[in-house]
Structures are given as C-alpha cells and as structure tokens.
Symmetry: C2
Subunit: 495 residues, 2 copies
C-alpha cells in the first residue's frame, strides 16, 4: 500500500537526483569548464531547472500533500512533510517560463561577468544584468502576492526561512550603532602595532598542500569531497561528494588558507547531514544563515583564534618555509588585522558586516523598485563613504561588480552572512559555558569536542526544526547580537 | 505554424541537453569524483537515463514521425528525420525498467571494477557482472525480435549502423589468415634490431606539458575542451566542450603521449562537428567505427609515422630532456615495436586486431547465450594462446578484467576499433593519392591539408550519410581490408 507520504518521498527523491546533476555541472562550470562550453551548458542547466520545476509542480503532489495531512504520522514525518511543502509552495507560484528565463539570463550574465569584472566593464555588465533583475523582480512579485511578505522579504525567506526586513533592520541598525566606533577604536589601537608581512612567492602547489593538511585537521572527509580552484570560492557538489574551491595568489597565502578553513566549515555540515534523510528536504541544510554559521564557526570562532593559529603555525612553516612573519604573535596580528577595504571577501571580521549592510540596503531597494540597476554604482559609492570612509567611484571591479551573487539573481542572500556570524558567536558562547578549557583543547589539536557539539546540535539536525527553534535548542536562547558584540570586543580590544 | 519536423526538433533538442548533463557527470565520475560519491551519482545517472528514455518514448513522437513523412522536405531534413527515427525506434523497444536496471548494474559494476581489477578479483567482479550481462541479454533479445537481426548484431548495430556478424566475420577471418604470419615475420625481423629504452623517471607535469603541446600541434581547441586523467583514457564531454583523458606513469611516457594523440583524433571530430546541427542526431558523430577511424588516423596514420615523430622529437627533448633514446631512428623503432602482450590498450598496431577478434568472438558467444559469464576466463586464455601465444591463466587483471567496456554493458563495441583502423588506412590511401608529398608536409608541421581533408570528408558530414556511403564518398570505394594490409606491410616490412 502506497501512502501519501510515500508518494511525496518518491517525488522528492527524484528531485534530489536532479539536484545532484545540477550541483555537479554547476561546480564544473565554475571550476573546470572552458569558455566555449558555456552556451551549451547554460541551455542544459536551464532545461534541468525547468525539469526540477516541473517535478515540484506535478499535479499528483497537491492531492498527496492533502492526503498526508490526514495520515497519522510521527514527529519526523511531520517535519519532513513541512519541509517538502515549503519547497512545493514556492515552486508552484512560479511559471516554468520565468524559471527558464531567469536561469538563462543568470547563466549568461554570470559567465560574462567573469571577464567583465576583470575589465572593469560596468556598461557591458549592465546590459546582461537588466534581464536578471527584471526576472527576479517578477519572481519576487509573485512570491510576495502569495505570501503577504514584501517583495524583498519573499526572496530572503527562501534563503533564511522566517527572516524578514522587520527583524533584520533593527539588528543591523544596532550593528550600525556600535560597530563603526568599534572599527575606529580597533584601527587606532592597531596603528601602533607592527605587523611583519609574509614574504612570498608562495608556490601554489605548497599552498594547496598546506590547505589539504588543514582540511584534514578540521575533519574533512576526502573520500567524500575535493578541493579545487575557482574565481569565486564556494562549497558545492552534493552531501555525498562535497566540492570546495579556493583561489590562490603566489604573493599571499593568508586569504587562500583561511578561505579553505571557511569552506571546510560548509563542507563538514554537508558531509555530516544525516544519511537516512539526505534525499529529502528534511535531511538538507537548514538555511543559508545556518550554513554560514558553520563556515564562520570554522573561520572566525576557530580559524582566526590564537589557539588554532598556534596549532597550525608548524604546518605553515613546514609547507611555506620558516620566516619571522610566522611567529605566533605575528600570525595572530595578521589574522585579526582590521582595515577598511573595498572587497568583501578580503575584508576582516569587523568591517565585513558593514559590507553586508551596504548590500542589504541596496538589494532591498532594487527589488522593491525604489532604485534601478543603473543607480547601483553611485549608491554603492555613497554608502562606502558613509560606512567605511572609502571612495569607489569608477572602480566597479572592486565595487558593485565584485560579487557573484547578483550576477545570477541570488538577491536576498547577503544578510545570511551576518546572521551566520551572530549564530556562530552564540554557539561558541554555549560551547565555552560547557567547556571552560576550550582554548587549551584547540591549541592541543583536540577539536573533537567542538565538532561533537556542532554535529549533535546542528549537523545531525538538518532541517528537523525551524531555524529559530534549532538555534534555541542548541544555545538555550533565541538569536541575539549580544554574543557577537562580546566576541568582537573580546578578540579585538581584549574587553 | 509548427510543422511535424519542428516538433521533432524540439524533442531532440531537449534530449541533447539531457545528454549534455549525462556526458559531463560521466566524465566527472571517471576523472574527478571521490569514491563515496558513487552511489548517489549512480542513482542520479540512472534517473537521467530514465528521463532520456522517456523523452525518446514520449507519445507525441509517433504521430510527429508519421506526419513528417507527408511533409515536403529537403535532403538535409530527410537525413535529419532518418537519424532521429533510428534513435527513436531503438528506445521504443526498451522498457524504462530495463534501462534503469542496466544503468544501475553498470554503474555499480564499473565502479567496483576500478578496485577489483587492481586486486585481480575475478570472483568479486563476476558477482556484479552477472546482472549487467543479464540486462544486456534482455535488451539484445528485444532489439533482435524487432529488427530480425541476431541478438549480438542488434547490439553492434547501435554502435555501427548496418554492420553485422555476416560482414565482420569474413573480414576478421581474412585478418586471421594473413595477420598472425605477418606478426611472426615482423617479430623475427625486429629481433635483431636494437632499441634504446628511454630512461625515466619522466615527471608527470612534464609529460602533461608535452601532451598539451602535441594537442596544440594537432589542432585541439583548448577554449572548447580539456585534458585530464582517468584510469581508462577516453574522449568525453560534449561537442562544445570536449574532455579527453590519459593516464601517466613516471616510468614511461610512450603510452601516455600516443594516448593523447589518439584521444585528440576523437576530440577534433567532436570539435568540428557542424554547429548548426549539433543539437540533432544529424549533427552527431556518424558511428563508433567512424569515431575510431579519426583517433586511428591521428595515432596510426599520423602519430606513429616517421615524419610525425621527426616533427615532435624536438618537443620530446625539450620537455623530457635529451637522451640517446630520443634519436629519430630509435623513436621510430619504439613506436613501431611489435610484441605480443596481454593488454589491448598497450598493444601495438599489428597485434591490436587480434585482441579485438578475441573479444568479438567471446562477446558474441556470450550475448547469443552460447557461453555464460563464468566461462569467459578459460575461453580468454585459450584464444590468447591461439592468437598471440600467451598464457593468462589466473591473471584476470591483464586478462578479461582489463577493459572498461564490458563492465557497464557496452557489448558490440569492440569490432568498431578494427573497422576504424581499416577506414583510416583507406582515408590515407585516398589522401596520398591526392597529395604525393604527404610525408614531407607532415615532417614540416604542415598538417593543415590532412585536417582539411578530414574536415571536408568526415567531420563536417556528421551523420549526413549512412556509414558505407560516407566512406565511399570520401574514398571513392567501399570499405576493404586491402589498404589496411598494404599500410601494415609497408610500415612494418617496407613491403
């Protein structure tokens, strides 16, 4: 006897297999594909996007969801249906033609961006970008009409379920209040510190070997994943085969190494998602903010900490040779250096949230129709002046062309980064409360207790609970910026 | 107004996009994927195989093919419909359940084979292989019933349209008559020749750089393709993005280099298929035998020839360092050395057809039900004794476990290799008739006239003509083994 739940499971298992194909060819596009393959790839990915959309909008799903309500089910099955329903509802609001148009426009825009960014070619980019923005606005309008959310919130909700501008704006207003003065204080304090610059070149093969060793230390499973290179580092692939990327510069290993630590945080979440649910929405990562909370647990809570740098300093010397810059005091200074800059992905823990607030404000206005694509550069420049005191006029490459997210229409994603930083700070406050000797353990390479906590509280829970409940179960309290502020003041002012 | 032809084009374009996904993830599986990704990949590929099958068996195709008959159409459109109909008819004979069962069994068997071959584990392999053979026999039975062909011929026909055992067996009987004595004569002649062995190690990075340079010389378009590594070298990907692989050994560059030349022949055929038809069966490669005729044109007709070795000798010295073994006379001896061996892919031009005849005879008997999977090792051993005077008892690794083809059910493919060798010899007889100074041109690096001939006669023709007509148009005569025999006697006995 096939129950309604089994019908749903069959459809979502099929969807999961299509997502597998989509993830692998997307990784390939970013990490492997030669340029002339792009048009055919774009067409194939668009066809697959339509297929996934068709799978989620198949007529037999509506009666199955209806019948599933009436079936007796345990708590797990109830949560599983809740997560399937979420994806189904979103998909059923969007016509296939719009899904295809967005995918095609996004693929074209993203591919051209890879050269246009280097060429600082805003005009060329704008031409490809308008259709992307137009498609996303249509999408947002349809989602907003159905959910009662604003257009922007309807997009945010897909990445961070339950999160709205009404929650984010006050939290970001709070950050805007205390963070810029804190940045100024830290910059002033660091002005008198001497930092020894590491002297390159650092051969890419050596950097890669170092990165692989640090991934091993952080528990990455190499039988279920890879490390490669792409323009914009990311964690892709599928839970059973996680593909992370980084980008190398021979002059500087600092960014690439910490980038690998960051992506390894994403990767371990994926690699430890519960295998018995992996083919269902229930078994997939909770949200983009929770995903980012894992990468930032690895990068910010562990990676840039003095005990972790103490642990890996010998590996750095082993792979890159010894030099004065690799003394532990100096490594700590390098990895906690605060300096306002143009580029989000190269920015430090303190200025990063200001980059996010800038993007949040611009993309919200863009999606709500308060501004147009051509308004972005001047607005970007104005906010960079206000938040970080920097001028980006005419510098599109390091301004509004720097990120991949907007090129393929991932609007509403950016807030997740700073939500993730706040979640991570809150986890580690909870871990420290249970484990007062945490720093000593990390310095000794005993990372197992931290991973055990994350595994038990976050990784193994997948999408079992709504985000607020997941965080509250794990830390004993709802999300607050308090732990984040305390973490930053402690790390940067010893306060 | 949408004509029947346009309906067909829309369906086959969709199919082409699905094939794109299938090709890229298959390449990834062989060249990139870590081991734990295999189960999910197998499931995703099986789902995609079902989808492609569903696309080819969609109910609207039958009336569209019927209506297309009545439409006035030009010669190109007629050929296009002929090629679409061919794929459609084969697919409609096979139920989705069988397609999925074969794909799953094949993926599992192939993956396990990658370790079982190394471990010489015939018993372990046999367990995974039985379901593959069972599925292929079912497939062959269904195809045979519908076409009136024998079961084995029904499989051959998919790789080499129009080719049957009735044509192959007399041609192979001819080879069995003159080739073993020729092998004996050449081995006797070469016994007195001294060959200087190249002295390694040859670093893999240097071998790769040399391979890339030779690919460039042979016209490979790197904006539309890549070179990577896999256990079993192949040419995959899609026409717009061709992925070739090789495998390296630090001790020996000879095989890897000529393997790259071989795969580049496949690659150029794909890269030069006419772009206006690339999304339709009409625009795809004619057959596996014609495909192999391109790789063997590159490897046997060009690559192992004295003029080509003269051309690349300086590159070999540049990348691998100078040594006496790299003198041109010695390179010619290395690349025309004849010595019966166990492994097909490492065997020479003269003994290779005997490996093929052995496989043809075994797989034909297996598919026709004259033998069972467990009979293969002893039969293999008996034929190796008879054809090449070698003992393979207990050596499965270098015996019946050496090839990838049978692991995922590609029975009926092997004859294509030797048909390809005969096609290639016939092309070059035609080219030489028009270009008496061919050797001088090749030695001078002037390969353009050869590529122009192949482009005009073969590459640009795609599936425009049935195979026999394509070969006759190109060379002025139907396929015969005469040119092949003449080529071999000339190269190996100066006769």
């Amino acid at each position: 006897m096939s129950s309604a739940y089994e019908t749903l499971v069959a459809s979502f298992t099929k969807l999961y297999r299509y997502q597998h194909l989509a993830s692998i060819v997307a990784w390939d596009q970013a990490a492997m594909m030669p340029s002339k393959g792009n048009d055919a790839r774009g067409a194939a990915m668009a066809e697959l996007a339509v297929l996934m959309h068709d799978t989620l909008t198949a007529p037999q799903l509506a009666p199955a969801f209806e019948a599933a309500k009436a079936e007796s089910s345990d708590a797990i099955e109830t949560a599983s249906v809740r997560e399937m329903r979420r994806q189904w509802q979103i998909a059923n609001l969007l016509p296939a033609s719009l899904v295809e148009a967005k995918s095609l426009a996004g693929t074209r825009c993203e591919h051209a961006w890879r050269t246009q960014r280097k060429a600082n070619d805003w005009t060329g980019f704008l031409e490809n970008w308008r259709p992307v923005v137009a498609a996303v606005r249509q999408e947002a309008t349809l989602l907003a009409e159905a959910t009662g959310l604003t257009r922007y919130d309807a997009l945010v909700d897909r990445f961070e379920p339950g999160m709205t501008t009404a929650v984010i704006e006050p939290m970001f207003a709070d950050l805007k209040r205390w963070l810029p003065p804190l940045i100024r204080d830290v910059v002033a304090k660091q002005r008198t510190e001497e930092v020894v610059r590491p002297t390159g070149p650092f051969p890419i093969a050596a950097q890669r070997a170092l990165g692989l060793e640090v991934m091993k230390l952080l528990g990455f499973d190499f039988e279920g994943g890879r490390l490669d290179v792409s323009t914009h580092p990311f964690c892709g692939g599928v839970a059973e085969d996680v593909r992370i990327t980084t980008r190398y510069s021979e002059d500087d290993f600092v960014q690439a190494l910490m980038g690998v630590v960051h992506e390894t945080g994403h990767a371990r979440y994926e690699q430890r998602l519960p295998r018995e649910w992996v083919h269902l929405p229930l078994g997939q990562a909770r949200s983009m903010g929770i995903h980012e909370s894992q990468s930032l647990s690895f990068e910010m809570q562990i990676g840039r900490s003095r005990p972790f740098l103490t642990l890996i300093a010998p590996l750095v010397r082993q792979h890159l040779g010894d030099q004065p810059a690799f003394e532990i005091e100096n490594l700590v200074k390098i990895y906690t250096r605060v300096r306002p800059g143009f580029v989000r992905t190269e920015s430090d823990e303190l200025t990063y949230p200001m980059h996010i607030i800038l993007r949040f404000e611009i993309e919200r206005a863009l999606i709500e129709g308060e501004i147009e694509p051509e308004d972005v550069p001047s607005l970007w420049d104005a906010k960079m002046h206000e938040y970080l005191g920097m001028d980006t006029k005419g510098n599109y490459r390091d301004g509004c062309l720097q990120d991949i997210h907007w090129t393929d229409g991932a609007f509403g994603y950016f807030p997740s980064y700073t939500l993730g930083a706040m979640y991570a700070a809150q986890y580690f406050a909870a871990i420290r409360a249970r484990m007062p000797d945490l720093d000593g353990r990390i310095a000794a390479g005993d990372l197992a207790p931290v991973f055990a906590w994350l595994d038990e509280q976050i990784w193994s829970q997948a999408s079992r609970w709504p985000t607020p409940e997941l965080v509250e179960r794990a830390t004993g309290a709802p999300l607050t910026a308090t732990h984040f502020e305390r973490h930053l003041r402690s790390r940067y002012l010893n306060a």
